[in-house]
Point group: C2
Chain length 346, copies 2
């Protein structure tokens, strides 16, 4: 089978790889229908974080179950599923508390690349999310939206959930990448009345508005803080979604929060050391981390997508056959795509 392999910064190649198989009783093997490229993949693609050469890459997919291990009873071969990157066991204290992205099971990590024709999925029994019917029952747009439930939409939702967005809130969303845009959807889904999207790119501003943003702030740093304060009568936001992860973005997120508000962050922290007294003296909270993908999909997001109430699949602005994996990465690296989709099989 074919799988995408990281060669060196700036270079991904598709190559023939061994067909994955069941290795543990809770594994499943999945035939990938669609996969995609994540903003976090760009960290190692750009050489900012390290990744061993030869690694199979990607962690977002939907597909059809091909085989299951002896302890997998909730899904069976032929089932159409979302493959969350989080692999929660469903039984540990973290999963039971609704934080399956922090599953404590030491065996949970996947076997590698989802940007491939087949993948081995650990903890399949609990973590996989079954989609009714078969891939051919859905439109392209619906398949795109279902694909976002493997990571990006759930991650945007995690930002809103940990920022504790509630009915009527004024919310700031830092970041206009696919996660930030899904954060806008999530804030609206949780009842935010006003959604201020921080965005500097016209195409993304447009999509942010389509997803529910009521205001756009194109400034950064001090100017951005001033703008948000002007928009909120000097109060600041009731909740802030940090979907970037840089030091500047996190600092701005904290400064635009009103006293008592919570910053929900999902951007992988690039520079995580900070003076937390700036939180303490304004009672600003800092929460967030890895999304609870399976939990959110099961309890809310799959239903919202199937009903058509949310259309997160619109973040895929370019689509590529798996063969064109290099171009899919380039489009995201050069920001010609908000997010690149990979068409793998029918």
């Amino acid at each position: 089978m074919k799988a995408a392999k990281f060669v060196k910064p700036g270079r991904i190649e598709l190559e023939e790889a061994p067909m994955p198989d069941i290795e543990k009783p809770k594994d499943a093997v999945i035939r990938v229908v669609r996969a995609c490229v994540c903003g976090s993949d760009l960290w190692w693609y750009r050489g900012i974080s390290s990744m061993p050469s030869g690694s199979y890459v990607g962690h977002e997919a939907i597909g059809v179950v091909e085989k299951v291990g002896s302890e997998v009873t909730h899904v069976k071969p032929g089932d159409f599923v979302i493959a969350p990157f989080t692999h929660g066991c469903g039984h540990c204290a973290a999963c039971r508390a609704g934080f399956d992205g922090d599953c404590l099971d030491p065996d949970r990590r996947g076997s590698g690349g989802y940007q491939s024709e087949y993948l081995r999925f650990t903890n399949a029994d609990w973590a996989l999310v079954k989609i009714p019917g078969q891939p051919e029952d859905y439109s392209d747009d619906m398949l795109d939206s279902l694909l976002t439930l493997s990571d990006v939409m759930a991650t945007g939702y995690h930002a809103a959930a940990t920022a504790q967005v509630k009915e009527g809130d004024t919310v700031v969303v830092m970041g206009d990448g696919a996660v930030g845009l899904c954060g806008v959807i999530a804030a609206k889904l949780r009842g935010a009345e006003r959604i201020i999207a921080m965005s500097r790119h016209e195409d993304r501003q447009k999509l942010a508005r389509e997803f529910g943003a009521t205001d756009i702030v194109a400034e950064r740093g001090d100017a951005a803080v001033e703008q948000v304060m002007a928009l909120t009568d000097g109060a600041g936001a009731d909740a802030v979604l940090e979907c970037v992860g840089t030091e500047l973005s996190t600092d701005t997120a904290i400064r635009v929060a009103r006293p008592g508000a919570v910053v929900g962050r999902v951007g992988v922290p690039q520079q995580a050391t900070m003076d937390t007294s700036k939180l303490f003296w304004r009672n600003v909270g800092l929460r967030g981390g890895t999304a609870a993908v399976t939990t959110y999909d099961r309890h809310l997001l799959l239903d919202q997508v199937l009903k058509g109430s949310i259309q997160p699949g619109k973040v895929f602005t370019q689509r590529f056959a798996l063969d064109h994996i290099q171009e899919a990465y380039e489009a995201m690296d050069q920001r010609t795509a908000i997010k690149s989709l990979l068409l793998v099989s029918e």
Copy 2:
């Protein structure tokens, strides 16, 4: 009138001071009935933080309103009141959101010492909390408990509120000072099922148990983390109250939290710079700051004290006439008192 004055580290003197008067339309002058010494007073008493020599000190009191400014209508001379140290205006975005400890009114700060016979209180109209009846209607024990509502009990409650303690939770309380002990009361009030108090002193362990602690951990650092993990089947606590403020205590608080739990901190951070990726990768939240004293008193705590459901006044293990202010500080500095009460007037 007599007021306590900071002379130099280790030295507080009572001296004749000018009688305070109304300076702004929202001021009140209060005759102090009881005041007390706060753990945070020890920072400058010990010379760890700076305080100008000659400052009038103290920020916790109950008393009787003597005079009010022209814009004060909710209290009148003769009313018995709690004087919260937070002076919320009641109208800004922070106060409206229930975070009056972070009131945005630039004029809110008090005129100084509450360890005195009279004090001037800013933002009296909204911030003062009226107690039914007069001081002579209450027992000594009840007056002690009412006094804790000016700071320490509300601060302990803030730790539990920002840690989002809920029904059935397993809670860890870091710190066995008066705030930590009030944190135990608060955790129980919010329905915690199991309360693990970190305490190394036998008298405080005893009071913690009386307030609702179900387990005591006397260890610190790594050993404390191990103990909590052993007590919680390796899961960690659902909520953690950080009532110390040191680097070690905050680090331990984060480590004993289960994935997704929130650390609510009220200990003034001594070393606030930290690597927040240890929060992110376990989805542990960090909230807290200055307590919303007026809000908590009005909505919950005054009622609980008057009904006798909670008895936070037990944290006062020594009492002194105002003349003996130096001894009151020494007792706390030397840990012979958990908290020192000052008897000021009848």
